[in-house]
């Protein structure tokens, strides 16, 4: 009971923490801000910090080493390297800012207008952007310099124009995605002027990406500017790091340190800007993760190696080998930042026999999918088995005491003896390959049959799952078929290698109501015909009543009730089951948490 409260509390604090604080907490971000702040301070107070003027020459002391007067030595004109570095910060940073300012002042309004009103302005602006992006930047800058003289400022204004498409595209995309959202509509209906809507609603959306983009642009501007100056195309009367670099390269044989300092300054400045951009992005993403996203599955990477010495699989308890699946006292947890494991499944036990259909019912976050995936061995890599065991057909896939699913044992079973029907049909097919090839490949691999034979079987399977024109579907890409059809394809895939157990994870939730019934009929028919065991994960008692022999009810990671479907439906014992059943009887799908308990994993 105390655990979810903690989560809520921490969520709340995290949401309140400003992005800035989060950046400071990130060591990289802190470093970047520290370096940039120092550089900016140095630039502002250059006149006070630098012991000499940027062009003050001590003609009697050229290319001198470091001493107490010239902290970093002098250059070929006897100018103080340290002072020039300090004044260089001023020019270099200011010119980078100028470049970003020009780019923003062109790209941002253009992007706002193009994104908000679209129409002819949008097409015109896009065309200009295409031209700008195809321009060979450095050559244009060289030409501009030849035309208008070696001014740092003119070069940077020109570069700002060249780089403005970045801001334009960023703003335009952001605005387009926001434009039709509800709150903007609402604002429009309530009579707010376009400019108010733009400034109030849309501006807040593009603010963060623009900060990131600006950090990157400033870095690029410094590199480009230094590059041009290195070519000897800089303004010789102004101390910048690029001019110093050029001067250093000329004297690289006599005084290599002249090259070192400006190179270091450029590297530090550009690096800090990159780091700052990364830190801002990370900070924003963190906030989104905590406050917005509830669906936070870590990637299901199953590549990791079995840890520790390979143990012989322990034998299962005598008498239980007759069960197709037996889950005993299973607990699954995820490591937390503080080093503890947060359980999402706790002390769950059930069995499935051959030819039997078991329903696992519960709301989002009840741990039902985690349980199902643990049988498939497809938990995220960071998931840990805290306790309990899983056995399949008389052998442990998770033996007592093991903390992860044994991949070598499960890879023998997956696809061959245990198969899977996912929830969302479209996202579970690889868009890059035809449906046929996605059906054929597992059969070739698992059944060891030829491609031609696999194709024959696939066509038969497609017709078995009720697809009218199997040949056409076979050659189609996933985006060319409907959702219901795709789910039939996935079911065909699931039965293609004659499994003993099918795990169906909400197989109808994503489908239209009319299609739902057809798909359920199909699963029932196949189950009867093939005599396979099925674990059906669902939140819907209707589906359970329709298909299952037995059912277990899960809530907040625990099993609250289990038994014959008729019994549970008829005389539910647990209050939670009763609530669930009530909601079903009122013909409603529980959209929200019914009880204030629940984890974050689904």
């Amino acid at each position: 009971m105390t655990e979810p409260v903690q989560i809520n509390a921490s969520t709340a604090t995290l949401a309140r923490t400003s992005v800035f604080k989060r950046i400071l907490k990130n060591p990289m971000g802190l470093f970047a801000i520290a370096v940039l702040s120092i550089m900016i301070l140095v630039a502002i107070f250059a006149g006070w910090i630098a012991p000499f003027g940027e062009n003050t020459a001590n003609i009697g002391k050229t290319l001198a080493g470091a001493d107490s007067v010239n902290l970093l030595g002098t250059d070929s004109a006897g100018r103080d390297t340290f002072s020039r570095l300090v004044f260089g910060a001023q020019t270099t940073l200011l010119s980078a800012l100028l470049c970003a300012a020009v780019a923003i002042s062109i790209g941002l309004p253009a992007g706002l207008i193009a994104g908000y009103y679209s129409g002819p302005f949008d097409s015109a602006a896009n065309w200009v952007v295409n031209v700008l992006m195809a321009l060979p930047g450095i050559i244009v800058l060289l030409t501009i310099r030849a035309a208008f003289g070696p001014s740092v400022w003119i070069s940077m204004i020109a570069f700002g124009i060249l780089i403005s498409p970045g801001y334009f595209r960023l703003t335009r995309t952001a605005v387009q995605s926001v434009r039709n959202e509800l709150y903007v509509d609402a604002a429009r209906v309530s009579g707010l002027s376009d400019s108010r809507i733009i400034t109030r609603h849309i501006f807040s959306v593009v603010r963060a990406p623009i900060i990131i983009q600006t950090a990157i642009v400033c870095g690029v501007a410094i590199s480009i500017q230094s590059g041009l100056e290195f070519l000897g195309l800089g303004d010789p009367t102004v101390a910048t790091w690029g001019v110093m670099l050029s001067e250093g390269f000329k004297n690289v044989y006599l005084t290599p340190t002249l090259l070192l300092w400006p190179a270091l300054a450029i590297g530090l400045a550009v690096g800090s800007l990159v780091l700052l951009g990364n830190a801002v992005r990370d900070a924003l993403e963190d906030r989104e993760k905590v406050t917005v996203s509830k669906r936070n599955d870590p990637p299901t990477v199953a590549l990791q190696m079995q840890r520790g010495p390979r143990k012989r699989t322990a034998s299962v308890e005598v008498g239980t080998e007759k069960h197709l699946v037996k889950v005993s006292h299973l607990a699954i947890g995820y490591p937390q930042a503080n080093g503890t494991l947060k359980p999402v499944v706790n002390d769950v036990s059930f069995t499935v026999d051959r030819g039997e259909v078991l329903g696992i019912v519960g709301e989002s976050g009840s741990g039902k999918s985690q349980t199902a995936f643990s049988i498939l061995g497809l938990l995220p890599p960071e998931a840990r088995i805290i306790s309990g065991s899983i056995q399949f057909d008389g052998e442990y896939t998770v033996a007592p005491g093991e903390d992860i699913v044994n991949q070598s044992r499960l890879s023998e079973l997956r696809g061959k003896r245990i198969s899977y029907i996912p929830q969302e049909p479209m996202s579970n097919l690889d868009p890059a390959y035809t449906i046929g090839s996605q059906l054929v490949a597992p059969m070739v691999k698992v059944l060891g049959i030829s491609k031609a034979e696999a194709k024959k079987r696939a066509l038969k399977l497609l017709s078995d799952v009720g697809i009218v024109d199997p040949a056409r579907t076979f050659g189609a890409y996933p985006h060319e078929v409907s959702g219901g059809m795709a789910q039939r394809v996935l079911i065909a895939g699931a039965i293609s290698c004659e499994p003993d157990l099918i795990i169906a994870d909400e197989p109808t939730t994503a489908l239209d109501v009319t299609v739902q019934a057809e798909v359920l009929d199909l699963i029932r028919d196949l189950q009867k015909r093939l005599g396979v065991g099925v674990i059906l994960v669902t939140h819907n008692f209707g589906v359970v009543a329709d298909l299952c022999d037995r059912v277990v009810v899960m809530q907040a990671g625990r099993l609250v009730e289990g038994g014959e479907v008729r019994e549970i439906l008829g005389t539910p014992q647990d209050p939670y089951t009763i609530t669930l059943l009530d909601s079903m009887l009122e013909n409603k799908t529980p959209m929200t948490m019914l009880v204030s308990q629940g984890g974050t994993k689904s």
Partner: protein, 313 residues
């Protein structure tokens, strides 16, 4: 498919026209001293005037542009004002060097960043952290700074490589390799880190996709999932990054070629723009833009091949 390509070529031509127009008028501002600069310091004002007439510089800008366009449309890009070499000849002499430099770098970047990016995405752990840190460092150090450091250490101090180019027509493979090694390394290092970073995040994004789990549940091996399915879907992101790097490098080599005294397009660009050699600058700009447009077209075609959804629409 054909209409798509034709459409793209059509719009490319329009962009090309716009850019030539823009560049030509920009060059106008730097063309005031051309005749004097060609003739040198001891030329008399009469000589300068004669030269201006010879080059057509006494004509108004518009008729100059039209004359250039008329010639260019017949495939005649003129001769350089300063070297009298035909523009096509000058560029075809230089282009192989730049392309060798850029293409070699891009190929190495593509291969290495795929390997490293995939490894970082799959293995995570230290290699992942190393890639992330390297990406920041790679971004932080402009490639020309790296190049300077390389020349100073490996060519000048240690003498492992030639400090300036030994690439010339008829130069043997060894000379090319020796001359290109350091510049390619400099370009690869700064491109590789961000390339690997992009591949890494694209692969991670794909690994999080539902279909990967389904493929696993079908008993497909991890290797097949990774290299047949995940990489293919991650490839468009990688290709886009590579094409951006390619375009960026076409500009970036200007400085790199200068450092290594490589006789490539970059050196030509610097020479011709500083002198205001209009025919040559126009040639360089046109070639570069054509390459950029072609690369973008190729990337779009490749993406269409990789992603059937894009192919249809």
């Amino acid at each position: 498919m054909v209409t798509f390509i034709l459409k793209r070529i059509g719009s490319g031509l329009v962009v090309l026209a716009a850019i030539s127009c823009l560049t030509f008028f920009l060059l106008y501002f730097s063309s005031t001293n051309i005749a004097r600069n060609i003739l040198g310091e001891y030329a008399t004002p009469e000589q300068v005037a004669a030269k201006q007439a010879e080059l057509g510089l006494d004509q108004p800008i518009f008729s100059r542009f039209l004359a250039w366009v008329a010639e260019a449309l017949t495939g005649n890009f003129g001769t350089s004002w300063f070297t009298n070499e035909s523009v096509v000849q000058a560029i075809s002499n230089r282009l192989p060097v730049t392309l060798a430099l850029v293409v070699t770098s891009i190929v190495i970047i593509a291969i290495l960043s795929t390997l490293i990016g995939v490894a970082a995405a799959v293995k995570r752990g230290w290699i992942d952290r190393a890639v992330q840190i390297a990406a920041v460092i790679g971004d932080a150090i402009p490639n020309f700074v790296l190049a300077i450091v390389f020349v100073t250490i490996f060519a000048i101090q240690l003498g492992f490589f030639p400090a300036t180019s030994s690439i010339q027509p008829g130069a043997d493979g060894g000379a090319w390799v020796a001359s290109l090694t350091l510049p390619v390394i400099a370009l690869v290092i700064s491109g590789l880190t961000s390339g690997a970073q992009q591949v890494r995040s694209a692969v991670i994004k794909q690994l999080e996709k539902d279909y990967v789990r389904t493929l696993r549940s079908r008993g497909i091996s991890e290797g097949v999932i990774l290299f047949k399915h995940v990489l293919r879907s991650a490839a468009p992101a990688g290709l886009t990054v590579l094409s951006l790097q390619f375009i960026g490098m076409l500009g970036g080599v200007v400085i790199i070629e200068q450092i290594f005294a490589l006789p490539g397009m970059g050196a030509l660009a610097v020479q011709s723009t500083t002198l205001g050699d209009t025919p040559l600058v126009m040639g360089v700009v046109l070639y570069t833009v054509i390459i950029v447009i072609l690369v973008n077209l190729l990337v779009d075609l490749a993406n269409g091949w990789l992603n059937p959804k894009v192919r249809v629409s």
